[in-house]
């Protein structure tokens, strides 16, 4: 719908002037939705032991529009998960990603589905970015069989093998050596793909990160370690946990880049740059300066260790969706009404997915014993009370 506007317009000039943090309005329009728009990132990149990539990012109207749609979907999904949690349909742990959507969306724009991504427990949006459906997310959060892991994993264990998304891990930092292993396998099989291993500022102090980094650098593995720095490791601010909060420099001999993680175009540019680097030279570190609006998880209000002013300040000035909205309006790619309609549609899609997920059944008790081993041992397996539940392993 918004693209019809583009087709009708006849201007062809591109935007090249540098932008300050606040975007200025009324730029010229690109002639069609796929022609290249070049937009500058809001902040320059800071680099460590490498040259920073250029601030001018090539994108297109349709890509920007898809950024908006994807981020709006992710935002809506996370907010709905919040309500579901409060309604006790989601139990246990629920770590929400709202505020950080630009990292997931920008990364996807720079890579293919053959490049691997592995992340920690704040994985709902990364899963969706990799092609996971809303039904799978809500199903898994509510523990139903339609969930991505058939209800057996939960919020922290979403995986998508066909899209090279390796999860979904609950223990802080444990996914980093796994990511190193994914990169090792890519190198072993001589594939021209990279692995993005995501972790947080809290995990950045784990020893296994440095062990993995050492090995990745030793063997030139195509591993890109991405620190999603939302400045709080659960309740501890980064300056209280890390002696050196310059996470992009912590690789020492490994080059790094600090990126404004709330700017989806900057994320896209950085990931593209990192991928090229990793394929040639081995590991790379990206630090995404981002922010989460919710607390660490649903059991954390998020306001005991930071002020509400800080949260609303970031929301007003740096919100990733608002930034793209302003870009879309400035470039006349879409009108206000079209964007509002899109958000309504997104809300409807999310609500539909939730309704459908609620109808999906809980797993059958026999599912308790499936997938423990791959090759079934062939013996009969019984439930705790030994009489009622009987399952035959596959």
């Amino acid at each position: 719908m918004p693209l019809s506007r583009i087709a009708s317009s006849s201007h062809a000039s591109n935007l090249l002037k540098p932008l300050s943090a606040a975007l200025s309005l009324c730029r010229s329009i690109s002639s069609d939705s796929t022609s290249t728009l070049t937009i500058e990132t809001s902040l320059p990149f800071t680099s460590h032991k490498c040259d920073a990539p250029p601030r001018a990012v090539d994108t297109s109207a349709s890509e920007l529009f898809s950024f908006f749609r994807d981020m709006a979907t992710m935002r809506r999904m996370e907010i709905s998960a919040d309500s579901l949690y409060k309604a006790k349909l989601i139990r246990g742990f629920c770590h929400l990603y709202d505020g950080q959507e630009a990292v997931a969306v920008g990364m996807e724009a720079a890579i293919t589905k053959k490049d691997a991504i592995i992340t920690a427990y704040r994985d709902h949006c990364t899963f969706v970015g990799r092609g996971g459906t809303l039904l799978e997310v809500f199903g898994e959060l509510m523990g139903r069989t339609c969930g991505g892991s058939k209800g057996k994993g939960g919020s922290m264990h979403l995986y998508r093998k066909q899209a090279s998304f390796y999860g979904g891990h609950g223990i802080v930092g444990a996914q980093i050596p796994l990511g190193c292993g994914l990169a090792f396998a890519q190198r072993y099989s001589k594939e021209e793909n990279v692995t993005f291993t995501l972790y947080g500022d809290g995990a950045a102090n784990q020893g296994q990160l440095f062990e993995a980094l050492n090995m990745a650098a030793l063997w030139d593995l195509p591993a890109i370690l991405v620190c999603e720095n939302n400045h709080y490791g659960m309740g501890t601010a980064e300056w209280r946990a890390s002696k050196s909060p310059a996470y992009y420099k912590r690789g020492d001999y490994v080059p790094g880049l600090k990126v404004d993680g709330m700017d989806v175009l900057a994320v896209k540019q950085a990931c593209k740059f990192a991928k090229e680097h990793a394929l040639k030279n081995g590991p790379f570190i990206l630090e995404m300066d981002t922010y989460r609006y919710h607390g660490h998880s649903m059991s954390d209000p998020g306001s005991t260790y930071r002020t509400r002013d800080e949260i609303s300040g970031v929301r007003q000035e740096r919100d990733p969706i608002e930034r793209v909205r302003k870009l879309l309006l400035a470039h006349d790619i879409a009108s206000e009404k079209e964007l509002k309609d899109l958000e309504k549609q997104v809300r409807k899609d999310v609500d539909d997915a939730i309704a459908k997920a609620k109808e999906s059944p809980m797993p059958d008790p026999s599912e308790l014993f499936t997938h423990v081993y791959v090759k079934g041992l062939g013996a009969e397996s019984f439930g705790a009370d030994r009489k009622e539940v009987r399952a035959t392993l596959p």
Partner: protein
């Protein structure tokens, strides 16, 4: 997994075995498969430990009914076989699998250029290259994690812990990622990794280097654990572990690496879930594994002279237990002695005692006796170290008491 067999009562994983109540032990109802592959004549001794109620129809190609290895007669009837040491048998199994499948790779400390601290991987780096036989830095947590990540994509890594005790550093990776990823991903990922290394009490190696990790790992759901004790079963179990789609932890023992035995020339793969009947007998069932097998056999000689007839079973599969073989034996002898090297508290013997009691309580004439190591850190002094592990004399005494 002893829990697999806890359906006692009317129902019957054992209806199949009750039919064998008589003394004859001909073809067990479980299926034994033997496959001959296209590449030459290969014996595959494998049996799925199926205890289904439906009658099994075994494939009759080259049927070897029980994967039995009696001492001194391990080789197959056709060829004379070749003699080698246990570490060489492990290497042979490893090399054959690496040759067969390019996805098999090894990673560990000093496995490449150095050839392995126990020479299990000697010569492999020259043959297969540095990436396939990877020398890692001393970072157990992360290189085990790396192996697991590589396994998620389809590679089949073999992670060597220079000493099993060092793998305690990788416990998180082994427990949470290795064991559980297949389940938490709803079956999407398989982790065909093999984690192997020597453990157990050696010759005055000190407390930290004499650990028995099978007791710590046994609760982890999703993994299989096997312990090898002879060159024959070492090679067979190594090959089976590599071919298995499940994560397998293969426990070797520091003192057993130089055992010499004649093994078949043909290729063979043993079953990961089966126990080995070392010495059939009538009076008492002695269950053991790894190095304690040799202490038991030594005690058995004395016992035979004294007129006892012990049945010795090397359980081999530490998780899950082969309760089928064990159950058959218990039904025959009605007395059980477990001899293990784990510590008394929470060791393999403790779990095995519980499993046997729950499943075969009615068949026991006496309480199960479990001889394990003392609950102490292994001391350095030779005499003290001797007293921490079970000695043949203690086994003889225990059998005598049990058989009164």
């Amino acid at each position: 997994m002893a829990t697999l067999f806890q359906g006692v009562g009317a129902v019957t994983p054992f209806s199949a075995s009750t039919s064998l109540h008589s003394n004859k032990l001909h073809l067990p109802p479980r299926k034994s498969l033997s496959l001959s592959e296209s590449r030459g004549a290969i014996f595959v001794h494998r049996s799925d430990a199926r205890l289904n109620l439906k009658p099994a129809t075994p494939k009759q190609d080259l049927l070897i009914p029980n994967a039995i290895a009696t001492k001194g007669d391990t080789s197959t009837p056709t060829k004379s076989g070749h003699e080698l040491l246990l570490f060489e048998a492990l290497r042979e199994g490893l090399e054959e699998e690496m040759e067969r499948d390019p996805r098999v790779c090894v990673m560990g400390e000093d496995v490449g250029h150095y050839g392995g601290s126990y020479k299990v991987t000697k010569g492999l780096a020259e043959k297969y290259g540095d990436l396939r036989v990877l020398d890692t830095p001393i970072a157990e947590n992360s290189f085990t994690g790396m192996g697991i990540g590589a396994a998620m994509t389809g590679l089949r890594p073999i992670v060597e812990g220079m000493n099993m005790g060092f793998l305690l550093l990788a416990f998180n990776q082994i427990s949470n990622n290795c064991g559980m990823l297949h389940y938490t991903s709803g079956g999407q990922f398989t982790i065909p990794i093999v984690i192997r290394g020597p453990g157990g009490v050696g010759r005055q190696l000190g407390a930290e280097h004499s650990q028995r990790l099978e007791s710590y790992f046994q609760s982890i759901p999703g993994i299989q654990m096997v312990a090898c004790s002879t060159p024959y079963n070492a090679k067979g179990l190594m090959k089976a572990a590599i071919r298995s789609e499940n994560p397998v932890i293969l426990f070797e023992h520091v003192l057993l690496y130089n055992l010499k035995e004649r093994i078949p020339d043909e290729e063979y793969v043993l079953s990961l879930e089966e126990a080995e009947m070392v010495r059939p007998g009538e009076h008492v069932t002695i269950l053991t594994y790894s190095r304690m097998r040799y202490h038991v056999m030594q005690a058995a000689k004395t016992l035979v002279n004294k007129g006892y007839d012990p049945e010795v079973i090397d359980i081999r599969s530490l998780k899950p237990f082969d309760l089928y073989t064990i159950g058959r034996s218990v039904k025959k002898t009605h007395r059980v002695l477990i001899v293990e090297e784990c510590m008394r508290t929470g060791g393999i013997g403790a779990s095995l005692t519980a499993a046997i009691t729950e499943n075969f309580h009615d068949y026991l004439d006496a309480p199960i006796v479990c001889l394990s190591s003392q609950d102490v850190p292994t001391p350095y002094a030779g005499t003290l170290e001797e007293w921490t592990v079970v000695q043949p004399a203690q086994i003889v005494t225990a059998v005598e008491q049990l058989c009164q």
